[in-house]
Symmetry: C2
Subunit: 966 residues, 2 copies
């Protein structure tokens, strides 16, 4: 017989007894969580389950939960050998989830949820919710489960959870004004326990265990009110941490609040001039909350992220001071928390200026390996934009305290903040965080989620990855799609059918992939090229398609699931894409206006509509579900001119005044080639698309310059050319633009390798020269790229061959394609991720084939994902080899590259490194090999062009060249 | 008793007899002109005079006119010794204008107008009109004379005109489409004699004698119809010429019209391959009209201003070919026009590629001094933009044929054409053309007037200068104002009172002076700096003032004088200024939009209004006086992107979308210093105006960024600072900007040398730092400039001293101030204009005094009028000396400067040369001397700043610095 929960049981509880067995001995927090799970059950079945402390009042099928050491019933069942607690005893956060028969009289079937510790029981309880189809976002985001009539588990169901892969897993509520702050103030009256109850629940349901609370203006330990926040965290088993500059259980604003001329803590955040006051401040902090579960931040920074000592202090001065600080803090912790320091989780951030203090230099020994840091988690971090900074070297990895990683989905800082809405892309999180894990960063993962809202999707992934690295980690290459699909089903199984869920998958992948090219806050009018390679038009098309889909589901979703759809899908999707669209239109608008094209004015109206849409969308977000998310959309997100939002600007609209004569502009689509046909100026334009042997259609566009009727006529002597229209009139009012498709019939080409056609315009004639490529694909091997337009552009995954090597231990060194991980197609990364390869020995390579028309000096431009080097040298090497030439080992980064430098600033916004390498090509067929050398190197694209003849500007780079077999 | 014409006489003619004595022996053209003068008399007195061939039918007071050799009555009066024809006989274009008593019975008083030749008589007749107050523009532009009751000349009135200073004086109707062409076609049906009658009349009334007719699409010798144009010119004594590439009395389009495979002239404009055909073509041209008065163009150019031989021909090849051409042409002229070549006026243009053929090089002798050019006028030219190219060296000046000058008031060519409306400035014409005369260019002056319309004002000056160089030439420094006043009176004595005439003087001077900074066709959004030094705002203020005045007179003028006022004043003034204003507003608009200032949107509306005004103005011009000027405003004149109007563009309007929070921008007027008061970014701005000891008021502007009410509050601790407002609200809708005046009370300064004030804005606070200069003017000599804002800017005329030298012949070498001849104030030019001075010997200098705070290396930037060097070396030297350092002789032009080069292209549009010189300054007081060296050097402004610290960008350069005694 199965264990069962069904509507009937729940409706009959007054008759047949309660579903949940509650022990008074249980942790209060566990009982509180059980209540939440009972509420979940109500959402699923429509009726609320009851709980009882009286075994006799239980129904035939009952849920029993408890924590080892705090649960008489578990002991009883264990004694009866109905369950085997030894399987979980002493384990970290492990729960047993088992159906047992007749645990005691009156109950036929019991679902037993037993935790190795408090959090484990909580995870086990939420495991039941999950199995019932309840999303972890049920409370946080009103994600309603599918209604069910009945739920069953087979009679011998037995599951023991795994120990989580990463020990401390959590998020950081940061930069919480204006969004999270206004939300908290309006809904809860502050950053208090009522508010944190929701945050903790979210964290725990997502299987996190660790939190850095809001700290811009908040004092977690005071705001409860009083200690209520801390106490609630303790009830729930939430381990509290604090950011890298909040040592000794003191939160950011506390010192500012307590300091003063008469304060016992003194009036200077300075360990030299106010050693006594600061020490006392720390001591009282540790005394206050040291008894709770914490990871205690140690170390010290200056106020507001500045250096601790002045600019003229030597490295040794700084190191000595920091050592002194650490010794003091360790002593305080021993005295006030636990005399056995190694039992106290502590964390030191290796961040910004602390990094040199840690490593020291040739003259000065750093803090690395010093006894003050024994058992301390060394927290590394990303560059605030999702790219890890240095990672532990092999020697460093056996540090007793292990390593942590501070990652960002939201950032308030340079070069440009992104705080409004999610713009993180799962493949990037996967690629970077799996590398962190591979490099031994396994003790603490914390991610800055800003205001939380809209970050739930990547946050789920981040915490799932941290919890179950075996499932989602390094071995799960290209599984973020699968993850996304699971996630969509988890949220929307009750709301949408499978096709609609696929659409949501497309929407989430689509908007984050576009944000991965460029985040919305970092967009401006000049990012994408308005015409070259049609990169703007193609992106606009993609965006419009996604927006339509989002709109369809908006119309389709029922009232019950509207909030969840809006908050988790519609708002982040439309919010992101509408802003992207606005800037893309702005680029087109500016470009069109420069040519006095009347369509500039239509584009201006569309931009206005986007801005209005943006405002309405935020307004709607703030209004739905009785203002549940009020405030969460308040962050500025348009037109940043500084690192923060100050002085930000809306798009400038360019409008034109019609010229006073009939005039038309003819432009070759995808290029800046443009003419009005004046006999005195450029009036012959090239249409090069047909140089690629599989292209038989191309286009050009005719645009109005005045509001007067203007006629065009197209003619050609070539019978193999045809046109979607050969004449027409643009009136400059309703019809301001016409795109003409040009087709060629290669059968009719005969001897021609070039043709031309003529467009008569009101002021003259434009001649368009049409060279036609007549490459015989059979003449070259498959995957051979054939230069046609003056360059060869290759997507990294389109290699002709790849070479792997085998290590003595049997592992394989090889390049793998990371699907979708690139600004245009995908990425190539070498595995194992931790290996520094040697060319000619263990380095794997990929080999490309391409044909150029002329032998000579060429530039190879490598497009490399904007990762940082894993070592402190600031270099990221790969090997480049053309034909039988020697392998050149080159640095894919500019000389002197460093995080926070100007090259970094540009690359992190553009989300790409581009590096040029001079290569020599022979006439016709060439081979190009790229060898893996440094870790973190991810190749996205290669562009080859004759020296000094750079292809036309663009944001994404030239469109991929034709290759045999395309 | 006086000679008299009055209304009564004219009304009584049927009784008392006719006023004019007409001889049948007279030249028909002279009698035709007499009729025009009789019509003038009708305009003045209201009744038409009559003429008679019968002495007995004359009234008591009569007008007698005739030409020596064609006039029995003159012979008779001469015999009677009533007049003395010997005084004018054989003279060039000289007339006698004399009152005689009783020339024969029945006539008491006769006004005798006797010409030494046909043209002289015509000038004499028109002299009568002028004396009656009839403008030379009476026919051309409907300029109506003041009505008079009576006119008298004293009984012994006796005047003999001068020989004109320049032999051939005329204009060139050029680039005649769309304006002049449409006008001719619509009003006259083509470029025919009916049309040319008006052009000839205009030319002759202006005392010109020489014409290059329209030639873009016209054939003067065919269009009459037939020879009617030529015959009419001959009747009137108009000497016909043709442009530099129309030899042998053939006009531009003729060959195109006559050539062909079956043509006797062949089908190639090529003296090598089609020698016979071309020779025949020339021969027939000379045969056709050689008997009329001409200046025959000789030489040959390729078609459409190209080189005559291919690019690979050597210099010697070209010279030999051109010599061959000249020999052939001279031979043809001898055979078909006059065997005595020296009696045939001929002209060769030394222009573009012909210049090197003329001069040759070290290896190859040029055509200079060759016998083929004996007695040929060598025509030099300007750079098409009003700056003379090379001028004859002293050795060259005794060339037997003398020199001519081809000047431009209108140009179709690079860098940017100007063909729409007059934009030439009298002081520049004076400065350049007097230099031409001084250098011996005295035989032929021709000016390209495009479509004539609106060029009448500078054309009058050009022809008056050519006619009477003694009155208006080199000796008449700073007399263009007087000329303008005379001209205004000549046109408008009957229309406006003296105050109104002064206003017209202001309008004409004003608009041409502004065009002298930059022509309207050459304006664009980026010319003037939108904020620096307030150059845009100050120019806008000036323009608005002029536009108001033009409008007042438009309202005031009566119907009779409306046409003349509109065509001669209102249209050119408003046309010019409205376009200038539009671009200035566009610059402000673009700048404001970049800062998201709401006022950008108001500016956009103003720009739209300007464009509409422009269109309406042209429309009105085409409509008034029954379409008298129809077509004359058709030339494009806005937004040139090429040398010609093709693909020109209207201003792009930038508009902003209001930000969604109350925000204000604070900017220091005249600078780019701007802040919103954000605590994270620049929020302290300097207000430096009070560093100048005579400045006690300055301003800053607060502007709206959103449409929400935004409040500002101003406060200061300094009692010596006061504000026109200390708080207020901008609503972002009606009130989008507020300018606050800041005043200082220097009495209250006490010890302060700096203060500050604070502007509270919605996002924070802007601090404005106010340093105050406390220079004691008494500490320095008068005219000492005192650096305050990091630079010293000096208007050239503000020297402290000047030094002159005396030549052995008693002439003085000295700098003279040319009033108003500068982009900002005036110019300094050395006289005599032909002298190459030697520093330390005869070079005059001016000396400036200035104070800088620190000793060290400085840059001296010289602003020099955009003249070209007079020699072929491409250099223009001056001497620079600071304190007691050596004089550095420096080239005021960049290395390799040449007309048509890129430096030239920029300078001719900007109408300035700027040259930097490194100088060394001592602390406090410095002397700077500028020595004259090369001719053509005109100094406008000097800017001195520490090396590497260039003052803020601007078009006109930094505002002049304070000097002692300002």
């Amino acid at each position: 017989m199965d264990f069962m929960i069904n509507q009937q049981m729940l409706n009959d509880q007054s008759q047949s007894g309660a579903l949940f067995y509650r022990e008074n001995e249980a942790f209060s927090g566990v009982n509180k969580i059980a209540k939440k799970v009972m509420h979940d059950i109500e959402l699923v079945f429509g009726s609320a389950p009851e709980s009882t402390t009286d075994k006799a009042s239980l129904s035939k099928h009952a849920v029993i939960y408890g924590t080892i050491g705090n649960s008489p019933i578990l002991d009883e069942l264990n004694e009866k050998q109905l369950i085997d607690l030894s399987k979980i005893t002493g384990k970290r956060e492990v729960f047993l989830f088992q159906v047992v028969d007749q645990p005691f009289s009156g109950v036929d079937k019991a679902l037993v949820i037993a935790g190795s510790e408090k959090r484990a029981t909580i995870y086990g309880l939420f495991h039941l919710s999950e199995k019932l189809g309840v999303s972890p976002l049920v409370d946080w985001s009103d994600v309603k489960p599918a209604r069910q009539k009945s739920f069953s588990l087979s009679g011998n169901y037995h599951y023991i959870s795994k120990e989580p892969s990463v020990k401390y897993r959590g998020f950081f509520i940061n930069d919480e004004w204006p969004a999270f702050g206004n939300w908290s103030a309006k809904k809860f009256g502050g950053f208090n326990a009522e508010m944190y109850d929701h945050v903790f629940e979210l964290l725990l349901r997502l299987k996190g265990n660790y939190l850095w609370p809001a700290m811009w203006s908040a004092r977690f330990n005071d705001d409860g009110p009083g200690l209520a926040n801390v106490e609630l965290a303790d009830e729930y088993g939430v381990i509290m941490g604090a950011s890298h500059h909040e040592p000794c259980l003191r939160y950011g604003e506390e010192y500012k609040y307590l300091r003063g001329p008469d304060s016992k803590y003194g009036d200077a955040w300075n360990f030299i001039t106010n050693r006594e006051g600061i020490t006392k401040f720390w001591e009282d902090g540790l005394k206050r909350t040291g008894q709770f579960e914490n990871v205690i931040t140690i170390g010290m920074r200056g106020e507001a992220d500045t250096k601790i000592m002045g600019e003229d202090a030597t490295l040794a001065d700084n190191i000595n001071l920091l050592r002194d600080v650490l010794q003091t803090q360790n002593k305080l912790i021993k005295e006030n928390v636990n005399p056995n320091l190694s039992d106290v989780p502590r964390m030191l951030a290796l961040y910004k200026e602390v990094e040199p203090f840690f490593y020291g230099d040739e003259e000065t020994e750093g803090l690395i390996n010093s006894e003050e840091l024994e058992d301390v988690i060394l927290m590394l971090c990303d560059d605030n934009h999702g790219n890890l900074r240095t990672l532990p070297t092999e020697e460093m990895r056996d540090h007793s305290g292990g390593y942590g990683m501070y990652y960002h989905f939201d950032y308030h800082g340079g070069p440009i903040s992104y705080e409004w809405i999610n713009s993180s892309y799962l493949p990037k999180i996967w690629e970077q965080m799996t590398m962190a894990y591979d490099f031994g960063v396994r003790d603490l993962w914390i991610v800055n989620v800003g205001d939380i809202a809209t970050q739930e999707f990547p946050l789920s992934f981040f915490l799932d990855l941290a919890y179950d690295f075996e499932k989602w980690g390094t071995s799960a290459i290209n599984q973020t799609d699968a993850y996304t699909k699971e996630w969509v089903e988890q949220q929307f199984a009750g709301a949408f059918n499978s096709d609609q869920q696929d659409t949501i998958y497309d929407l989430l992948t689509g908007y984050t992939r576009i944000a991965h090219k460029r985040r919305p806050e970092q967009m401006n009018v000049d990012v994408y090229h308005p015409v070259n390679y049609q990169e703007t038009d193609q992106l606009l098309e993609e965006i419009d398609h996604l927006l339509e889909n989002a709109e369809e589901l908006y119309q389709a979703v029922d009232q019950e699931h509207f909030t969840a759809y809006f908050a988790q899908v519609y708002y982040p999707v439309v919010g992101n894409l509408n802003v992207q669209k606005m800037w893309l239109l702005n680029g087109k608008n500016k470009y069109a206006a420069k040519l006095n094209l009347i369509k500039a004015n239509q584009l201006a109206e569309q931009i206005k509509a986007c801005l209005k849409r943006d405002q309405e969308l935020v307004e709607e977000y703030h209004t739905i579900a009785d203002g549940k998310f009020y405030g969460m959309g308040l962050s500025e997100h348009i037109g940043f001119v500084h690192w923060n939002e100050d002085e930000n600007k809306n798009p400038v609209l360019s409008t034109v005044l019609p010229m006073n004569k009939p005039r038309l502009s003819v432009s070759i689509d995808g290029t800046e080639h443009q003419s009005e046909g004046s006999p005195w100026h450029l009036n012959t334009l090239p249409l090069l698309d047909f140089l690629e042997p599989d292209v038989n259609q191309a286009s050009f566009t005719i645009s109005s310059i005045s509001e007067q009727d203007a006629e065009y006529q197209i003619s050609s002597d070539q019978s193999w050319l045809s046109f979607s229209s050969t004449n027409g009139v643009l009136d400059g009012k309703d019809k301001v633009t016409e795109t003409i498709q040009v087709s060629i019939d290669r059968q009719k080409l005969a001897g021609d390798s070039e043709g031309e056609f003529f467009i008569k315009t009101p002021v003259g004639q434009v001649t368009i020269v049409v060279p036609v490529g007549k490459i015989d694909p059979a003449a070259y091997p498959k995957m051979t790229f054939i230069e046609a337009k003056g360059y060869v552009a290759i997507e990294a995954e389109h290699f002709a061959d790849r070479h792997q090597t085998t290590n003595p231990d049997g592992t394989i060194n090889r390049f793998e394609v990371l699907d979708g991980y690139g600004k245009t197609l995908s990425g190539l990364k070498a595995f194992p991720t931790t290996t520094h390869f040697t060319v000619g020995q263990n380095a794997p390579y990929v080999e490309y084939q391409f044909v150029v028309q002329e032998a000579g000096a060429y530039e190879l431009e490598l497009y490399v994902q904007s990762s940082n080097p894993v070592t402190r040298e600031g270099t990221m090497y790969c090997g480049v080899q053309t034909n039988d030439n020697e392998v050149k080992v080159i640095n894919a980064l500019p000389e002197g590259y460093r995080v926070d430098g100007s090259d970094w600033g540009a690359d992190v916004i553009n989300n790409i490194h581009k590096q040029q390498v001079k290569i020599s090509c022979q006439e016709r067929l060439n081979k190009l090999r790229i060898y893996a050398v440094s870790p973190a190197f991810v190749l996205e694209k290669l562009v080859i062009y004759p020296e000094g003849k750079k292809p036309a500007d663009s944001y994404l780079g030239p469109k991929e060249t034709y290759y045999v077999g395309r």
